[in-house]
Subunit: 315 residues, 2 copies
């Protein structure tokens, strides 16, 4: 068996991330068999029909039973209960690796760890990849290519298990980094959680204006607003759980954001063009770093080149 | 001569917007001759070399001289001085149409109108299109295709001139809407100006963190932050002028945004998942409207499908 491959992978949840893991694992030949479970029969049905999983279950425990890798691909808030249920059913295989893909890590560790039996290696993880879409139809094998995946193994974790999971993620196309759950939560608060909150927020602000109609907001969204709505189209359940479970770091980052915004607002009020120019120029620099690091391209995107009013663009 | 076409079009400024107008006008056969001026000789040189303009000038007045359409494609803050200069040189042609592409309208009208001589028709305009890039190399003929262009003609404006300019923009590929400068400024404050300010702001907040390095911010930007930096890469001079010249509307919208954000922050602090779920779901709805209106596609974008670490993506 090659490094990072497993006999039976159980995906607890087969939405965007779960189904993409299945497709990427097949592409790399990392699994003899991929099984999955979902909350609704319709989702299991869809995942089977699309050939994403070999076997489907309504019960997470039945999916996990006999699997040497169990991946929790469910909203952060339900992971503790799922693992409790699998463990209560005695379904964990001795020596299995248990991991997750949640966007917060400290809360997951607190919720999940108490229910992990001896002999099962819990290595929390978070692939920094995704789209604003949800469901098994949204998955694709290339989702993790050249993206980062963060693992946050506990101090006493089995090195071999961490190494195996790292090889698995590398096989899916990712680069892997290790850090503590707490540092992960702080980094993600600013790179992901607060941007999402702001995007959700400005969309709602726009909707509640009296003197500008929704129709106008939609019509003239190409001015910049459109890019926020794209982020705000993300799954509400997943995001509710993220904010409830990374409260401290999000509140800290929000406080800083608001302070900085107040300073910009003041510069506008007093006509301080020099300060505005300086702040805008500094922001532009960081963008260059992102393009240079390969996390984005500098192809112009605002113009949505080649797309039409029919919305039939396909990148 | 077909509707919306001109003998000689003068572009005062040949950056992203000016050069795209030139290329789109050529594509549609709307100009016998396109001339341009720019602040620097290097920009004029580049625009000539790329075949964007037929003739280049360092002086806006010399570009405008003899032109039946003069388009101000310069930052909002300098348009008044440019028109004063053209008028002082006696360079406006009798019956010419003067327009602009500025992102604010009331301030432009106040700055420019006093310098427009009798017999010249000033019809302010604003194409809602752009990318985060700048300069003549960034222009392309399709930039305005299926985008909206807002015209804000004064009450006493010559109908024929407005009709001619409308046909011109339709020839460039746009849909045209008329409204007052004040309403334009309010609509754009929420669809464009505040989103840009927020994007500039969060990028700076991220840069000033002590416990998260710039390198980490860049590495894990695919979580959502990346999309903000794209907006924050826009031209600092242009944006400084937008905020200085649309102060009232921007401050009003910022006030509402901050109020709404405080409510979300409070919901996070008190663990009010129901409120968060409701607010996130509402935001998602408006996104659907934008996709249905053809202002964006629902092709997944976060994953930047098919792009590589080398940044060679091309849409």
């Amino acid at each position: 068996m090659k490094g990072g491959s497993f006999e039976r992978i159980a995906l607890i949840g087969v939405g965007l991330i779960g189904s993409s893991i299945a497709l990427a694992a097949r592409r790399a030949g990392l699994a003899d068999c991929v099984v999955g479970s979902a909350r609704t029969a319709a989702t299991v049905e869809t995942a089977l029909r699309l050939g994403i999983i070999d076997e489907g279950f309504s019960s997470a425990a039945e999916a996990a039973r006999g699997s040497d890798l169990v991946v929790l691909c469910a909203p952060v808030g339900v992971c503790g209960a799922i693992v409790e249920h699998i463990n209560a059913a005695g379904a964990f295989r001795e020596g299995a690796i248990l991991t997750d893909v949640g966007s917060v890590k400290a809360a997951i560790v607190a919720d999940v760890a108490p229910h992990v039996p001896n002999g099962v290696h819990f290595v929390p993880g978070h692939p920094i990849a995704g789209t604003e879409q949800s469901g098994p139809e949204a998955g694709f094998a290339e989702l993790f290519d050249n993206r980062w995946c963060i693992l946050t193994p506990p101090a006493n974790c089995d090195d071999a298990a961490v190494g195996r999971l790292q090889s698995f993620w590398e096989g899916l196309g990712s680069h892997v980094e290790l850090m503590t759950p707490e540092h992960h939560d702080l980094v993600l608060a600013i790179t992901s959680h607060v941007p999402h909150l702001i995007a959700f927020n400005i969309v709602n602000t726009a909707e509640n204006l009296e003197r500008v109609t929704d129709r106008e907001v939609i019509k003239y969204s190409a001015g910049g607003f459109r890019d926020f709505t794209r982020i705000a189209a993300s799954d509400p359940t997943m995001w509710r759980d993220v904010f409830l479970n990374n409260k401290e770091a999000v509140l800290e980052m929000l406080g800083r954001f608001s302070e900085d915004l107040t300073a910009m607002q003041r510069a506008i009020r007093f006509g301080d063009g020099e300060t505005l120019y300086r702040l805008f120029s500094e922001a532009r620099e960081l963008r260059r770093g992102i393009v240079e690091a390969g996390q984005d391209t500098d192809a112009p995107d605002f113009g949505r080149r080649g797309r039409t009013m029919d919305g039939d663009g396909d990148e």
